[in-house]
Symmetry: C2
Subunit: 476 residues, 2 copies
């Protein structure tokens, strides 16, 4: 419906929602009084009142007696989170290839409201700055792509990465790092360096479906370990699993598990590394969202507790700088020579230009300033989507309260099948990721993952539509 | 030694060699008479004579009685080629990882004369044109890297590739193509899609060491098939191998095998595809140097004879446009869905910018014109290096006569160990590739591969030095 056909109060509500979304009004801010807004917008007082009530219903603002309307704080979300996962206790083959590829095809469709991929918010990527760097590098040296850049990859980039890791408590030199084509390749090479087909890998559950796809492609079995929505992998369950199975490697998303949003507490990280070291089990640590933490304190990585070179720390710049540059890295510890060689056999090396561009950005581009900004924005958008879900979905719905990253993990009423919801949502022009994809044992039938990186009117409406669909499915 | 300290005749010889190298004097051309040159250069007649004798000794020119000095024709190279290879007849594990990685490390050392890598001649890459495209694409859309480009890869690029393949007799549509990070990834994914660890792959022998490294990394066994230096894989030997072994896949470099330079004749290509089809064995065809053919006729690819989708055609733009863009492709035939999925699990997808740049170059950049130029230049440089080797190396040396590409395969006297030569050459500031790397059964002890992409005075001197080293080793 074009804006001029909308009721007046809807227009005022949407404009105000935009001001909240853009950060003009922050959580806790008082909105202009009804009278003042009526003068500003040149509409009647009752129109403003209707608009405010509308926003209140959406969960964006709240009325405080004798005081006025305020933007809601996300901390006030005290609804229950999803429970700790309870996967089956036997290792199993991963076989969600077809389902995953189907979902991925919809992900590339720009006509859909994209709540499916965990793509970063394009407005929160330093695209122009990176583009300027690419242009100046290419202009200075048009021949920079005239040679192969062999593993371990471009030294200036490894220097920048090492410096940041040292700041985060890791004993790492540039020589300990191998540059990869994104974080997925870092993980894939780490798995190939440590496991053989048929081996069992203990993993957090749920876990990012791309990692499950790597495991499936390599013919590995997984043992899914119960994982708490805030504290990550259960150490007790892992201890039990190690005692009863021959675990070849362990894989976690230590900071802000995708989809859970969990962050393994420092003490647990230390214990996790020590436990695995005792059993000589390598830990493949995906830390791709580590920099996007909502609290002041930057979380540590498991690697910082690693005394024996058994932690393989994997990450990339796909979430905070650019998914399309395909530049990631791994600190493979003891397996460094093997990973370096496997990288060569897989595709020789990473293109020099994007490596140079990111190295220069890290050195001169104000990365820390950029990170401080996107942390605030993602915290805010995640809070808004979380509120909207709680508002529009049936009351049995549970939503995670992630401490970082930008995805939400939503537990729907028992009756709702996420694949059926996926299909219905698609018909309404919306994608989401069905829970099935996040487990080898199909345990998350009634869960969905939502990308909360952006908050727009279209997305707000999409959440409303999803809420209606879920409600209908829960009642039918 | 700086030029002004060189004897005068050496200066004249070097200047004349440069004129030959640059194509000012072409094979068969008559050089200026001794008298004329003496006037031109303002040097004595005996100096010119000494210079011409020097060039004659280098194999660059020849004296014809009563006529003068002429630039030698490469066709006049009638020395024997290496024999057809005779590898062992049992499958074996590949284990040349450490040796290969050692050689690769020296390859990145810019202080060495690089005869080791098969890097293209930087002067024969359209770097400036590609750089301009990169700059304009980035300027037009700074956000083009803000998303993942999922397999099968960028459509406009697949369209360009498909059009060229159709011209070359393949029934291929853009939907049959998967874009990869270079040709090595195309091969690695093809192997992963068709084989499991322990399977036997029949391969040409010798074959590019990168392909052997992929086989080793995937835990595959190889059965090396005798391969003729001009006609490629022996069909009789392959038939015998298939009859006596369970071959899971076959792998060839159909046009201008690296290092052999062989090109499978059309009729053999047809028979090869038919033979493998009868036994339902997929053919992984590396066609990376196909465009760099020295004769007028563009060679066909095995894929053009493929009726059942069993040929997996792999290539890239690393030899003719840019090694550092890391853009290659595969036409996987029946295995397309599997390859597409494996590409996703390996590293999600290829960066959008280099794909767009190459697509635009192919569409508008005068690719065919560029190819015609580099074919001539490579034919010329390969001819010059071949002559120089025959001239400076001991007489038992045999050199291939490649019909395309830009590497030479040199069979040294029996006594010479290529690894020992490698070490001694390194001390003289020269790299080459020892024959060991091109076989899983270490059969090419006394062979080396030389990169003949460039021809400069430094390289000419390096060939002279190598000749001396080989001579000493052959006599000792």
């Amino acid at each position: 419906m074009p804006a001029d056909k909308e009721p007046l109060y809807e227009q005022v509500a949407n404009e105000t929602a935009l001001l909240i979304r853009s950060g003009t009004f922050r959580p806790g801010d008082r909105l202009p009084s009804v009278r003042k807004m009526s003068r500003q917008k040149k509409v009647s007082i009752s129109t403003v009142l209707q608009a405010y009530i509308k926003l209140e219903n959406r969960g964006l603002i709240e009325a405080r007696p004798q005081s006025g309307y305020y933007v809601r704080r996300q901390e006030e979300n005290e609804s229950p989170e999803p429970n700790i996962s309870s996967p089956q206790q036997d290792p199993c083959q991963v076989s969600i290839q077809e389902l995953t590829m189907m979902v991925l095809r919809d992900i590339t469709n720009p006509r859909l409201v994209q709540l499916g991929t965990a793509l970063p918010n394009p407005d929160l990527l330093p695209s122009s700055r990176l583009a300027r760097i690419v242009i100046s590098l290419t202009r200075e040296n048009p021949s920079l792509a005239n040679t192969y850049d062999l593993p371990p990859g471009l030294e200036p980039l490894r220097v920048q990465i090492a410096q940041r890791l040292v700041e985060n408590g890791c004993k790492v030199t540039p020589n300990d790092i191998v540059i990869t084509s994104g974080c997925m390749e870092a993980i894939d090479l780490s798995l190939r360096a440590t496991c053989r087909p048929g081996d069992i890998v203990a993993i957090e559950s749920p876990i990012y479906f791309g990692m499950l796809q790597s495991l499936e492609a390599l013919g590995l079995q997984v043992l899914e370990i119960p994982t708490h929505p805030r504290d990550g992998i259960s150490l007790d369950a892992l201890r039990f699993a190690i005692a009863h199975n021959s675990i070849r490697a362990c894989m976690v998303i230590s900071n802000f598990n995708n989809p859970l949003g969990s962050c393994i507490p420092d003490e647990n990280k230390r214990q996790l590394v020590a436990l695995l070291a005792r059993h000589e089990i390598p830990l493949i640590e995906n830390a791709i969202s580590s920099e996007i933490h909502f609290s002041e304190q930057r979380p540590t990585v498991c690697k910082s507790y690693d005394l024996r070179g058994q932690v393989m720390l994997c990450s990339s710049f796909s979430k905070d700088l650019s998914p399309g540059y395909r530049v990631g890295w791994v600190v493979p510890g003891k397996a460094k020579a093997e990973v370096e060689w496997l990288k060569y056999t897989a595709n020789i090396g990473v293109a020099p230009l994007p490596q140079m561009a990111i190295a220069q950005y890290l050195k001169t581009g104000g990365y820390d300033h950029h990170l401080r900004r996107i942390r605030r924005e993602y915290a805010y958008n995640v809070g808004l989507m979380s509120q909207a879900v709680l508002h529009h979905f049936p009351s049995e719905t549970r939503v995670t309260r992630p401490g970082g990253g930008f995805v939400l993990w939503v537990q729907l009423p028992e009756k709702v099948d996420s694949l059926e919801l996926y299909k219905q949502a698609l018909e309404s022009g919306i994608t989401l990721t069905p829970g099935y994809l996040f487990s080898a044992s199909l345990q998350f039938r009634n869960f969905i993952r939502l990308n909360a990186a952006c908050w727009t009117l279209d997305i707000e409406r999409a959440i409303q539509t999803l809420g209606r669909l879920v409600d209908e499915m829960a009642r039918s």
